[in-house]
Amino acid sequence: MKTGLNETELEVIGQATYKKTADIGFRHAQENLPYIKQSILDVPRPMPAKGASAIAMSAGPSLHRQFTIQRMIAHRYPGTVVVADGALGYCLRNGLVPDYVVTVDPHPSWIIRWFGDPDLAGRPDDDYFRRQDLDPAWNTHERERNEELINLVNEHGPRIKVIIATCVSPNVTRRCLQAKMPLYWWNPICDDYEEPGSHTRRLFELTDMPCMVTGGNCGASAWIFAKAILHRDPVGMVGMDLGYAPGTPLKKTQYYHELIKFYPEERLQEAYIEMPNPHLGETWYTDPTYYWYRRCFLQMVQQSGWTAYNCTEGGTLYGDGIEWIALDEFIQSCSTKSLGNDINQIRNPLHCS
């Protein structure tokens, strides 16, 4: 495996992401226009009883490896919970109803599955969900799990505010409305909005919705939303692995089907990147796209001046600006902060091996 990607390689992934998402995202925004009413600036803020903290949840494998949700419930975490769409099902199946769910990826058929897809039987068959380690429930009985998720989202949806990007597929919009979920819209900042012909500016002029930095993926967007719109502090991240645990088969990685088109099976591992995590004493690995996400996040933290508290207890997101904290300690500090404690006093390195 490699030890990293250079600047040019990262640039290629960034440009590929733009090419993949810009045009389809604009078409989706046009189709979503009849539904676009309230913006993220209108979203109800958390009740004061929740305190100032939040947890931003991504859908990485540490969610189930570390029993994250079960521990949040056991510790009676009092703060605000903002989840990426990919983590919604895992939350609801385990008894945690989030306050907000963020959705941003414009993929036309995959994203609706995070909300329960009423038309799953009619979609082209693929193993995108079955082969992933993100949520083991998707590995088997996919259709039964989908029916279960439809019912859970229908039951709890009205209590969950959707932070929905204008670029998402209209089938996601309609599914959220079907479940009576309140929608709050935003545009993703995709390029320099001060440049002539800016894609971001076109989205803004089309929708009249505020624009927000994305971080490149939905989990990062959830963290930014908690910081910039809800003004939560501190915001802990969970499930933000951006990588794969030691021993995870390459076939279980998110971009396997793309990478295997370019690398023969016996050389496939050359496409991946080793990441020795100093907090865990373990070497995780990641693929080029997750490595780009990681780079985006580190850049964003440095440029914003915000501190990110990583309570994932796994993964590859460490570095300058990232405080690595055990989830139990984060929750404890948030629960006692109103009594005068400060999370900055609790920065013990995590050893969870």
Binding site: H107, G215, M300
Partner: protein, 69 residues
């Protein structure tokens, strides 16, 4: 001028990885091209750009204070 990060090409940024010379150069450029084509298939969920410290923009001048907790 606000610092711009993300998938946005900066002035003066190199277009390719510097390669060695001769046959080694040819082989390396082939590998680089192969890897570039592979990477082009691996786009992420959504584009990422951040200008200065601003994480929000609402059609006017950059909102300088929105990033503050």
């Amino acid at each position: 001028m606000a610092k711009l990060i993300g998938n946005y090409k900066m002035a003066g940024q190199p277009d390719a990885v510097p390669a060695a010379s001769g046959s080694e150069k040819k082989e390396e450029s082939t590998v680089a091209e192969f890897e570039r084509r592979a990477l082009e298939r691996l786009g992420g969920s959504i584009a990422f750009v951040m200008k200065g410290k601003n994480v929000l923009w609402s059609g006017t001048a950059p909102q300088k204070d929105v990033h503050k907790p």
